[in-house]
């Protein structure tokens, strides 16, 4: 829902890193996005395509998004399960003492420069 806002944050960080590394043109930006990060990859890509035309440094850049699956661990039985399918309640023992182990990440993994 706030994809455009996060695209600006991504561009700011990429510009910072590019400056520190004397990069004048970025060819690829690789992100890691958790399944329950609330960011929708398709919207993110659309917003990125719109925004990159306004920034010389990333005008040619391609956006690659790696998905990190959401996994929840249960404090009741100790098992893990897929968050997207089962949510907060453990499908094995019914406990609600569960926490997200991974899947809310939203990282800039690396950039490629030519």
């Amino acid at each position: 829902m706030h994809e455009l806002g996060v695209v600006f944050h991504i561009i700011d960080q990429v510009e910072e890193v590019a400056k520190d590394n004397d990069v004048s043109s970025v060819s690829k930006i690789i992100l890691q996005l958790g399944e329950v990060s609330t960011v929708i990859p398709e919207y993110l890509t659309d917003c990125f395509v719109w925004a990159r035309a306004k920034h010389e440094l990333i005008r040619e850049a391609e956006l690659e998004i790696e998905t990190i699956p959401a996994i929840t661990r249960c404090g009741g039985c100790g098992r893990t399960y897929g968050t997207v399918k089962y949510g907060k309640i453990c499908p094995y023992c019914g406990s609600d003492r569960t926490w997200l182990e991974q899947g809310s990440e939203f990282m800039i993994k690396e950039i490629e420069a030519v």
């Binding site: 706030h2 806002g5 890193v17 939203f106 990282m107 490629e112 420069a113």
Partner: protein, 224 residues
């Protein structure tokens, strides 16, 4: 084929990291100056402005209060707040669905935050995006109104998990809705067992005393 050499530069940083850092810096400055900033969030129409007016009227003799109204457009809310006599400014997010720490800082500088004890940031009406961006506020509070339903803590877990206070507003219409207060409290506790929950009715004034007592306690703790 392109034979230019490709350099890979590893970053491995959260997209939110810069904002989180800026938010921490801002929170530190507010604490140093003794200014308590409440980031108030809710869906559109949950009663943020009406609740704020009731809150301001109860506290304005005791504290110097300022309000920053964030909206995508218009100054409807800022005008209503101005009727209480406290200083209010309107922040336009330019189409964005949330405020971040940088925008909050700009607003605080515009209002001249050092002259206040208590500042409310009325965030954009939305239960999703504002939860992702730390504004640098001293406390996060949200309003859930009865017509929205008691299942919202389950549907918008992140928002409920970051709030210090959840106000359940429009309690006067509970008889007309299928809203179970206990089920709602359970849902909130499941997401966040540190959150305080107060049922209020901004229109009749019910519960506002409990909410303003909480604010006063927080302000005293913040200043010491």
């Amino acid at each position: 084929m392109d034979d230019r050499e490709v350099r890979i530069i590893e970053i491995k940083k959260s997209v939110y990291e810069n904002n989180d850092r800026e938010a921490e810096r801002l929170r530190g400055e507010l604490r140093e100056k003794g200014v308590f900033l409440i980031n108030l969030m809710s869906s559109p129409g949950a009663g943020k402005t009406t609740t704020l007016i009731a809150t301001i009227n109860a506290l304005k003799d005791r504290y110097r209060i300022g309000v920053m109204e964030a909206d995508i457009d218009s100054d409807v809310d800022a005008k209503r707040i101005a009727s209480t006599g406290v200083t209010s400014i309107q922040l336009h997010t330019g189409g964005m669905c949330h405020l971040d720490a940088g925008m909050t800082r700009q607003g605080l500088e515009e209002i001249g935050y050092e002259g206040f004890d208590l500042i409310f940031l009325e965030n954009v009406g939305n239960l999703v995006c504002p939860a992702e961006f730390d504004t640098g506020a001293s406390a996060n509070a949200m309003i859930l109104s009865v017509p929205e339903g008691d299942d919202k803590p389950l549907k918008y877990p992140l928002m409920f998990s970051i709030c210090d206070m959840v106000l359940i507003n429009k309690t006067d219409v509970i008889p007309y809705f299928d809203f179970d207060l206990d089920r709602c409290r359970e849902g909130i506790a499941m997401r966040n067992d540190h959150a305080s929950v107060i049922p209020i009715c901004a229109k009749t004034g019910e519960g506002i005393d409990l909410w303003t007592a909480w604010i006063s306690e927080q302000i005293e703790a913040w200043k010491n």
